[in-house]
């Protein structure tokens, strides 16, 4: 797929999202003209772009949708829920069409029929629906005598912006017939000054079409900002052409010649025009009077004027110019390189320390500080707000609640919270499962809710915030909550736990996340096939995250997903046990203490009056090397809880590039990843939370084994 097409597909997907978001907002009763305009603009942009990339099937389809939206906009049609539903379906269809385009395919008969059906659902009675053939053929003879004159000079950067001047001609051909055309290349400079990437072209076009001026102007939407465009309506007076001649950069006789050549003017008219023009007073203070005041042409106004006149909108556009679209893989490459740079920097520092040269050490220190800044800036480039992901769920909630005859609203907070793009991409599926589950199993029917003394309309809430180096995403509902007895009964039936096992509340809730578990009484096609929640858990774990659940029966449930901010580079705290180096995420470290009573068999210590449990990593990892004279405890914190980790040596902090571990370690808990040290050795990154939990489970298990020997609790 060529680059222009790729850009079109991606931009259209974004427009489609905007379109859908607008429709959903309208559906919620936000009848704001801006929203409707936004929806229209989105459809229009897609159509325009499709014209540029010459994708007829999208142009044709979007054209009808656009007509409907236009009718809504000018008030000739009323918005209604069925119409919104039909428009949403059209938006789905467009998404399918974009998929096809991406695969360089064309819609098959079935897809076309589906499209036609969806368009028919829009019920455009008055608008003449252009069928594929109608759009492609020139207008009938009766109209073809309406000759427009289009004069266009493309901006120097047109080609650089990925536009092909010829594609505009193709697009014009779809709405009418190009009767005459002259290519203007007078701007072409001498070879020495010629910029091979510049565009020096212009066209004078005699155009027969029934389209209105706005539609013709729209053809040039993509280059409008930097091209000189004049459109003279049919049956205009000669004066208009005089005005045009004045506006164009070429000399009047030359342009007059062209106009005659194209067929816009006759020889006689030209003579008359040139004569009139020469009689007009010309001086710097009083330029030629605006002969064609009646002209509805598009002036090319200097940018500063646009900004002044359009005020806010001008600023908005200026802001847009400051953003740059970059291919994700280029960014990934940069992050990879920065990662390598961090590692190389670490080995340089190590070497400098070994050599003991102060000046060299100083230089490497400055370098590592710079590398750190580069790392932070590079990672920031990949940060995106989670709001966009959240907003997509308005549609899901709307469709599902309709399907299940429930009333549900979606509340979003923390939409501006940023996280790594690679995480955002992978979080969508788990969120989808959670939302489907919440609507299907959580939220009750309006009748049940009223009977329980709750408002008929259920609520699902998304929230996101940062918490000590992680991002927390919450999905909560005010539905029925979890019935512990039912969960336990089902778990026993499925053999997940034994009947005589006593489980804590959290353990019971965690059963919901086990494979093959479903509490819904009946299997619906929304959720409840018993796959889903365990997939959610697995997906989140593969992102080095975790999911927790809280639920109050009768009041609702809350899922908390905790994810690392980035998957690439962290600040690490290096520690050693015997000869091995391990790394803890620095933001989980609270304090370091000397481990005093190593001989004690208790696994807690007095931490400022708090009984702090600790894990002896040497034992957990089964390292049988001789104990060093001094051991250290690192106090770590996660999700508000504290624990200690006992290690031999503290090596200090350093940047850590996370290297993924093979998928063969996917079920492993306690190890979050690996990194490569300055010495070239691989060191493991510890997952603090999982480690402490692992130690806790082991202790609980060994105690419960003493109590009931038959326990085999899934880890």
């Amino acid at each position: 797929m060529d680059e222009l097409l790729a850009v079109f597909v991606q931009e259209s997907r974004e427009q489609l999202q905007a379109l859908e978001a607008g429709l959903i907002a309208l559906d919620r009763g936000e009848h704001d003209p801006d929203t409707l305009n936004g929806v229209f603009r989105a459809a229009h942009t897609i159509k325009g772009g499709a014209g540029v990339v010459e994708c007829d099937f999208i142009v044709e389809f979007t054209h009808v949708v656009e007509n409907t939206l236009d009718a809504l906009r000018n008030g000739s049609r009323e918005l209604s829920p069925p119409l919104i539903a039909a428009l949403l379906q059209c938006s789905d269809h467009l998404s399918d069409l974009l998929d096809l385009l991406e695969q360089s395919a064309t819609p098959d008969a079935e897809c076309l029929a589906r499209g036609q059906q969806r368009l028919a659902n829009l019920g455009n009675p008055t608008t003449p629906t252009p069928t594929p053939t109608a759009a492609a053929t020139p207008p009938v003879a009766a109209n073809s005598d309406r000759h427009w004159h289009i004069s266009v000079r493309f901006g120097l950067d047109t080609l650089r912006h990925g536009m092909d001047p010829v594609s505009f001609l193709h697009y014009l051909e779809e709405m009418g017939e190009i009767v005459g055309l002259a290519t203007i290349y007078d701007q072409l400079p001498a070879l020495a000054e010629y910029d091979p990437e510049g565009c020096y072209l212009g066209f004078e076009i005699d155009y027969a079409s029934t389209a209105d001026k706005a539609s013709i102007e729209r053809v040039f939407d993509f280059v409008r900002d930097d091209c000189l465009l004049h459109i003279i309506p049919p049956d205009s007076k000669v004066d208009d052409f005089i005005h045009l001649i004045e506006q164009l950069p070429e000399t009047p006789p030359r342009i007059g010649e062209i106009l005659v050549q194209v067929g816009a003017l006759t020889e006689k008219e030209l003579q008359q025009a040139l004569h009139t023009q020469s009689q007009l007073p010309h001086d710097d203070d009083h330029p030629a009077p605006k002969v064609g005041e009646i002209l509805v042409e598009h002036h090319h106004v200097p940018p500063q004027l646009v900004e002044a006149a359009a005020g806010k909108q001008g600023k908005l556009q200026a802001g847009q110019n400051h953003t740059l679209r970059i291919q994700a893989d280029k960014l990934d490459k940069l992050i990879d390189l920065v990662g390598e740079l961090v590692i190389a920097g670490a080995s340089a520092r190590l070497l400098a320390r070994e050599i003991g040269q102060t000046r060299l050490s100083r230089v490497t220190q400055i370098m590592s500080r710079l590398v750190e800044e580069i790392r932070d800036s590079a990672l920031e480039l990949r940060m995106v707000q989670i709001g966009e992901t959240f907003n997509r769920f308005h549609r899901v909630v709307r469709d599902l609640s309709h399907e299940l005859n429930k009333e549900v609203e979606l509340n979003i907070s923390g939409a501006e919270t940023e996280l790594d793009k690679s995480v955002v991409e992978k979080i969508s599926d788990p969120l989808m499962h959670l939302v489907r589950n919440a609507i299907d199993h959580g939220i009750e029917s309006p009748e049940q809710r009223l009977a329980a003394g709750k408002p008929a309309r259920g609520k699902i809430g998304f929230n996101a915030y940062h918490d000590s180096g992680s991002i927390v995403i919450e999905v909560r509902d005010d539905g029925a909550g979890v019935n512990r007895q039912k969960v336990l009964k089902r778990a026993i039936e499925r053999g997940l736990v034994s009947a005589n096992q006593s489980l804590s509340d959290t353990e019971i809730l965690n059963l919901l996340l086990e494979p093959g578990f479903s509490t819904a009484d009946k299997v619906s096609n929304v959720s409840g096939r018993g796959v889903g929640m365990d997939v959610v858990k697995r997906n989140i774990q593969s992102l080095r995250g975790r999911i927790d659940m809280e639920s109050v029966e009768g009041q609702g449930s809350r899922f908390m997903i905790r994810l690392p901010l980035t998957l690439a580079i962290i600040d690490g705290f290096h520690v050693a046990i015997a000869a091995s180096t391990y790394i803890l995420p620095l933001d989980s470290v609270v304090r370091c203490l000397e481990f005093k009573d190593a001989a004690s068999d208790r696994d807690y210590l007095d931490f400022g009056g708090e009984a702090l449990p600790f894990v002896r990593l040497r034992d957990l990892f089964r390292i049988d090397a001789p104990m060093p004279p001094r051991q250290n405890v690192i106090v770590v914190q996660y999700a508000g809880q504290k624990a200690g980790l006992v290690v031999d040596q503290l090596l200090g902090e350093s940047q850590t590039v996370i290297k993924p571990l093979s998928s063969m370690f996917q079920h492993m808990r306690g190890i979050g990843g690996a990194t490569i040290l300055g010495s070239g050795e691989v060191a493991l990154i510890l997952d603090v939370q999982a480690l402490v939990q692992l130690a806790a489970t082991r202790e609980t298990d060994s105690l419960s084994v003493q109590r009931e020997p038959a326990v085999n609790q899934p880890a």
Binding site: S580, F621, K659, S662, A674, L694
Partner: protein
């Protein structure tokens, strides 16, 4: 049509592949050279706690972290002893939907690369090799001796290893 014809005639005598032969606990084994990416010296291995014995650890292979498997332990034999010629064969296995992954394999020594025709390869006996039959792609007769040709994708199946690793974590818990 052509595909069925060629695959249904095992006696297509021209078919042959190259195999890397190596020794493991004194016994010769072979692996299709198409899977082998490189052979490196044994060294600088980082052990991973709480994993089964046959996972030796991970190494830094030019910036990537690559797991290293002890084949002997994987076959249920005692772990390989590190000797003078011990090396790590980097093998590429397919994993899931078209994904490929590098895995290091500890061997006592590599012997040679040899062309073996399909005629010289027999199927494995149902038992007697003391190695799971699905690990064996075939038995080649080379100079009066049988060489077990390994099925790399099965022996080094990351999914299976991951499950075993998960089990070992649980076992340690009890």
């Amino acid at each position: 049509m052509a595909k069925t014809a060629s695959s249904s005639t095992p006696a297509a005598s021209s078919a042959s592949s190259q195999y890397l032969l190596f020794l493991l606990g004194g016994e010769p084994f072979g692996i299709d050279i198409a899977h082998v990416k490189e052979i490196i010296e044994y060294g600088q291995l980082t052990e991973i706690p709480m994993t089964p014995d046959f996972i030796r650890g991970v190494i830094n292979l030019r910036g990537s972290v690559v797991p290293v498997i002890d084949l002997a332990a994987r076959f249920g034999r005692p772990p390989a002893k590190i000797v003078r010629h011990t090396c790590i064969v980097i093998v590429e296995v397919s994993h899931g939907e078209g994904e490929r992954q590098d895995i290091g394999v500890v061997v006592d020594s590599v012997s040679e690369v040899r062309e073996i025709t399909t005629d010289d390869i027999e199927s494995a006996p149902t038992f007697g090799t003391r190695i799971r039959t699905d690990f064996i792609a075939g038995m080649a007769r080379i100079s009066q001796r049988f060489v077990i040709l390994l099925n790399a994708d099965r022996v080094l199946s990351t999914d299976e290893i991951a499950e075993l690793a998960a089990l070992s974590v649980k076992d340690e818990a009890n």
